[in-house]
C-alpha cells in the first residue's frame, strides 16, 4: 500500500495551488483541447513553436490537484525542448506514471523533475489525471486544433 504522501507530495501541492504557465498566450502557434469526461477535467494546451523548438508552453483549464500539477510541471519541462525531445519526454513520463519504467530507473535529465508525479502509479484510477495534459500537448504538436478525450486513451 502506498502512502498518500507519495501522491500528494509538497511539490505537487505547490504546483496545484499555484500552477505555472496557467495563462492564454497572445499568439500560440499550436493548441489542442483535452477532456476527461469521467471527472469533468478540461484543459487547453498552448504551444509557441519557433524553429522546431517549444519557445513557450502554457495552459488553461481546471481539474484535480494531480491534473493541475501535472500541467504546471509539463509546461515548465517542455519549454526549450525540440518537438522530438518533448515527444520523447511524454513517452518517458507515461512509462513512469504507468509503472513501466520502475522507480529510480530514470535516466536523469528532465524526467527527474517530473518524478514527483511517479506516486500516481499506485493509483490506477488517477493515472489519466496526470497524463491528460501530456496527451493534449502531444496532440497540439501533431494535430493542432484537435480535441483529445481520455475515453479513447489507455493511460
Amino acid at each position: 500500500m502506498s502512502d498518500l504522501s507519495d501522491l500528494y507530495q509538497e511539490l505537487i501541492l505547490d504546483h496545484s495551488r499555484s500552477p505555472r504557465n496557467l495563462r492564454r498566450p497572445s499568439n500560440p502557434t499550436a493548441s489542442a483541447k483535452g477532456d476527461n469526461p469521467l471527472c469533468g477535467d478540461k484543459i487547453t494546451v498552448f504551444l509557441t513553436l519557433e524553429g522546431g523548438r517549444v519557445a513557450d508552453a502554457a495552459f488553461e483549464g481546471r481539474g484535480c490537484a494531480i491534473s493541475m500539477a501535472s500541467a504546471s510541471l509539463m509546461t515548465d519541462a517542455v519549454k526549450g525542448k525540440t518537438v522530438e525531445e518533448a515527444e520523447a519526454l511524454f513517452q518517458k513520463f507515461q512509462a513512469m506514471v504507468t509503472g513501466k519504467s520502475g522507480a529510480g530507473n530514470h535516466d536523469g535529465g528532465e524526467i527527474d523533475r517530473l518524478s514527483a508525479l511517479s506516486g500516481v502509479q499506485a493509483y490506477p484510477m488517477r493515472v489519466k489525471c496526470a497524463t491528460l495534459c501530456w496527451h493534449t500537448m502531444s496532440s497540439a504538436l501533431a494535430h493542432p486544433g484537435a480535441t483529445v478525450s481520455t475515453e479513447k486513451l489507455e493511460a
Binding site: M1, L13, A65, I66
Partner: protein, 420 residues
C-alpha cells in the same frame, strides 16, 4: 391479481429501531477491509451492497429450479415461470399496484424510462411539451432529448431553489395545454432532495398531463404506493434496492400500457407470428421481448422481501438519524459547503471543499477504506445549477452506521491536513 388500493405495501407499519450490527452481518462484503482499513461504504446511492438473502435466493434458484420461462411444459420450466411471476407479484405488492400486469421487468431505470419515451412517446406530436426538473439524472434527460429529435417535442425545465427544492409555483406555471408528460425524480441522486411528488402529480393531472416518476433513489428508502400517488408511470432499479444489477421495473397504469406499442420486438412479446401479420401480446409480456433476466427478478424479489423484514418506517428513521448526524459533522469541516440542503432530504451528503477537487477528496478517503462518489453523478445540469463541476457524495443505506460518518469526518480532516 388484484388488491385493495392504498394498503401499506410493507408489513411494518410501526417504527421500531433495528439492530444495525445484526443487519450488517447479512451483508458479507461489509466485513472486508480496503487498504488495511475496515470498509466504510458510503456509495449506496450509486449501487447498494447485497445481503445473503439475495445472493442465496439467486444461487438456490440457479441450482434447483432454473429453466427458461413461459416456454416449456416440463416441471422445471413451470417452476421457473412460477418463480418469475411470483417475483412480479412481489414487486406489485412493493409498489402497491392494482395488478401484476402493470409491472414490466426491464434492465434498470434507464431502460424503463427509454421504454416510456419510445413507446408512450410514440404518440407525441411536434410542439407537445414534457416538463423535467433541473436536477434530473441523465437517464431522465437524454431519452427525452432523443424523443425531441424524433418527434419535435419541447422540453421545459422546472427550476429548483438554492437549497435544491423544486420551486412549485414555477413548475405549475410551466404546465399548460401542450404539456403531455411530467418526468421527474422522486429523490435526487446528486443532492438528495425529496420531491413533492404527490403535489406534482395533482398539479400535472389537473393540467391533463401524465406523470412519470424516476424512483431509483426513492425505492430503497421509503414505501412506494403508486395508487396513493396516482402517478402514471414509476420506474426503479433493483441494484440500488439491495438487489442484483440488470433488473429494473416499470410500473405503468394498465390502460396506458395497453395503449402503448411494443418497445423491443422478438420472442416473448407476441401472441402469434406469421410472415403476413404478428399480433402482440398483452402487457407486461408485450414489453419484455426475449428471454428476461429471470435470475435477476428472483434476486429483486428476495431484496424486497429482505427490506420488508426491517420495514421502511424503521429504515427511514435510521437514515434520517444518519442524515442529521452527517450534516452536523460536515458542517464543522472548514471550507466545506453542502450542495443540497432541502428540508425534505434523503441521507445523501453532496459537498465541495474549498480548494480541493472532489477526486482528490475521494482518493484520500479511499486510502482510509472510505468509498464515496466524486464527480457529476450523471447529473451535470444539477451541478451547473449549483455552480460546481462536481461534488463528493457520501450516501447511506440501511446498513450504514453512525460512526461511519465519524470516520468520514476524520477522513475529511486528513484532506484538510494534506491540502492545508
Amino acid at each position: 391479481m388484484t388488491s385493495q388500493p392504498r394498503r401499506s405495501p410493507l408489513p411494518s407499519d410501526n417504527f421500531a429501531p433495528y439492530d444495525v450490527e445484526r443487519v450488517r452481518a447479512d451483508f458479507p462484503i461489509l466485513g472486508r477491509k480496503v487498504h488495511g482499513h475496515p470498509l466504510v461504504f458510503l456509495d449506496t446511492a450509486a449501487s447498494a451492497q447485497k445481503p445473503n438473502a439475495v445472493l442465496d435466493a439467486m444461487d438456490r434458484f440457479c441450482r434447483e429450479d432454473y429453466a427458461n420461462v413461459h416456454r416449456g411444459v416440463y416441471y422445471l420450466s413451470e417452476r421457473a415461470t412460477h418463480a418469475y411471476e411470483a417475483a412480479r407479484e412481489t414487486v406489485r405488492g412493493f409498489v402497491n399496484a392494482r395488478e401484476a400486469a402493470e409491472i414490466v421487468f426491464t434492465r434498470n431505470t434507464t431502460e424503463a424510462i427509454n421504454l416510456v419515451a419510445a413507446s408512450h412517446g410514440a404518440n407525441f406530436r411536434p410542439g407537445d411539451e414534457i416538463i423535467l426538473s433541473a436536477i434530473e439524472h441523465h437517464s431522465n434527460i437524454v431519452p427525452w432529448q432523443m424523443l425531441r429529435e424524433r418527434a419535435g417535442i419541447v422540453l421545459r425545465v422546472a427550476p429548483v431553489d438554492d437549497s435544491g427544492e423544486l420551486i412549485l409555483d414555477a413548475f405549475a406555471d410551466l404546465l399548460g395545454p401542450r404539456t403531455k408528460l411530467v418526468a421527474i425524480t422522486h429523490i435526487s441522486n446528486a443532492i438528495g432532495t425529496v420531491m413533492p411528488v404527490a403535489e406534482i402529480v395533482r398539479l400535472a393531472h389537473a393540467a391533463g398531463a401524465r406523470v412519470l416518476i424516476d424512483g431509483s433513489q426513492a425505492a430503497p428508502h421509503q414505501a412506494i404506493d403508486v395508487q396513493a400517488l396516482d402517478c402514471d408511470f414509476y420506474a426503479f432499479t433493483g441494484h440500488k434496492l439491495y438487489g442484483p444489477t440488470g433488473i429494473g421495473v416499470l410500473y405503468g397504469k394498465a390502460e396506458l400500457l395497453a395503449a402503448m406499442p411494443p418497445y423491443q420486438s422478438g420472442g416473448e412479446m407476441i401472441r402469434s407470428v406469421s410472415f403476413e401479420k404478428t399480433e402482440y401480446a398483452a402487457p407486461p409480456a408485450r414489453f419484455e421481448a426475449g428471454t428476461p433476466n429471470i435470475v435477476g427478478a428472483i434476486g429483486l424479489a428476495a431484496a424486497i422481501d429482505y427490506v420488508a423484514t426491517i420495514g421502511f418506517d424503521s429504515i427511514a428513521a435510521h437514515e434520517q438519524a444518519l442524515l442529521r448526524h452527517g450534516t452536523a459533522l460536515l458542517s464543522e469541516v472548514k471550507g466545506l459547503r453542502l450542495v443540497g440542503t432541502a428540508r425534505h432530504k434523503a441521507a445523501i451528503l453532496s459537498f465541495v471543499i474549498d480548494g480541493v477537487h472532489p477526486h482528490d477528496v475521494a482518493t484520500i478517503l479511499d486510502r482510509s477504506g472510505i468509498a464515496v462518489r466524486a464527480g457529476h453523478h450523471c447529473a451535470q445540469p444539477a451541478m451547473e445549477r449549483f455552480g460546481v463541476s462536481g461534488t463528493s457524495r457520501a450516501s447511506c443505506g440501511l446498513y450504514t452506521r453512525l460512526d461511519e460518518l465519524d470516520a468520514l469526518a476524520q477522513g475529511l480532516a486528513r484532506v484538510r491536513e494534506i491540502f492545508g
